[in-house]
């Protein structure tokens, strides 16, 4: 996974209402037009709203949360938090969370 492509997409959507609109109405089209291109694995995880796996693979969590802030890819802030907590449950338990 390139990570930078995912991070750049999430960063762009904060400043690009047209991208947000496209991700809301035609998410796969929007993801496939990203530059630099997302790979198939990244597209699959993004379409599934699997922010836990993306975070685990190194995508920037602050930027990922922008997807949920704007209600994209089936995410809202509540489901976003649940998925991040589930993915990082072992580490969170170790740290006493």
């Amino acid at each position: 996974m390139s990570v930078y492509a995912v991070n750049k997409l999430c960063r762009r959507l904060v400043h690009d209402p047209a991208l947000r609109e496209e991700l809301a109405t035609s998410p796969e089209t929007g993801l496939r037009s990203a530059q630099p291109p997302l790979d198939e694995d990244e597209i699959g995880l993004l379409l599934a709203g699997d922010v836990g796996a993306l975070s685990r693979r190194g995508a920037n969590s602050f930027l990922l949360h922008q997807l949920a802030r704007f209600g994209l890819l089936g995410l809202d802030l509540e489901s976003y938090g649940e998925r991040i907590r589930a993915e990082w449950a072992p580490e969170r338990a170790q740290r006493g969370f």
Partner: protein
């Protein structure tokens, strides 16, 4: 000659402006705490504010991620990232900004110059409380301290940068009254593994918040700088290194106990003022 009239520290939660204006249960507390800083800031009567903040991936990302940069445009608009905070154009003291950059580069700090940018909520959010009238006439010298993409500068380097900026201000020939303001949290996780159990944000290291506040109350900047290691800042969350903005601001003034300090531990941040008597 230019004169330093105080140091001030504030948080920049992007939702505080909305909360303060729509009857949120914390509205009165937020307004009161910002006002605790705004009162001595107004009394200090600055012409220019050196504003230390950390870009949240809004200015620096694709072309470059500078460890430090100073905004040298004539003005900048914002916020670029939250339309829930009223947009405003903010004048920049470009002459002082360029003089500060020239001086600190001469002192071996590799500080870039940002010539065209928009402010994000970390600047416009606090200004909405501290200087609500956009026509206040006060200009900014924005100093961007990288805090979100490692590697980042050490606390001692940020403090030294603050001292160098102080020297630049003091040799500036114009009779300008200059305040230093820092914008940032002490412990905060946004969207990452260390969020709270009931939110997409959290304060992963509340004990560090207490420690920072204790050291600020004592005016013990030397110990604060020593204890603000990269590992400690990382443990404090993915926004934990915003403390570097406070440390740089403290470099501009003389270390002492603050005249005002209040804390919102549930957010991992504080409000403080060090007016120069």
């Amino acid at each position: 000659m230019a004169e330093i009239v105080g140091g001030f520290g504030v948080p920049h939660n992007p939702h505080f402006y909305s909360w303060a204006t729509n009857g949120h249960p914390l509205a009165a507390e937020i307004v009161e705490m910002y006002e605790g800083v705004a009162r001595p800031l107004r009394a200090a009567s600055p012409d220019t504010i050196v504003f230390f903040t950390s870009d949240h991936y809004n200015i620096f990302f694709e072309e470059s991620v500078p460890i430090f940069s100073i905004g040298v445009a004539d003005s900048a608009r914002g916020p670029s990232d939250y339309d829930t905070i009223p947009a405003r154009e903010v004048r920049i003291d470009a002459a002082l900004a360029r003089e500060v950059q020239r001086h600190v580069v001469g002192e071996d700090f590799d500080v870039g110059a940002s010539q065209e940018f928009e402010f994000d909520h970390t600047v416009i959010g606090p200004l909405s409380f501290l200087l609500p009238d956009p026509a206040n006439g006060i200009a900014l010298v924005p100093v961007f301290v990288s805090a979100f993409m490692r590697p980042i500068a050490s606390a001692s380097r940020c403090y030294a940068l603050g001292r160098a900026i102080r020297a630049a201000i003091e040799r500036h020939p114009a009779p300008v009254r200059v305040a230093a303001v820092a914008s940032g949290s002490f412990s905060l996780e946004i969207g990452g593994p260390w969020i709270a159990n009931d939110s997409h944000v959290g304060v992963p290291d509340p004990a560090w918040v207490e420690r920072v506040v204790e050291l600020l109350r004592e005016g013990d900047v030397e110990t604060l700088v020593a204890e603000a290691t990269d590992a400690q800042l990382e443990q404090a969350g993915n926004a934990g290194a915003e403390l570097l903005d406070w440390i740089a601001m403290l470099g501009v003034i003389d270390a002492c106990a603050p005249a005002y300090l209040d804390v919102q531990p549930q957010f991992g941040h504080a409000y403080a003022a060090w007016p120069v008597a």
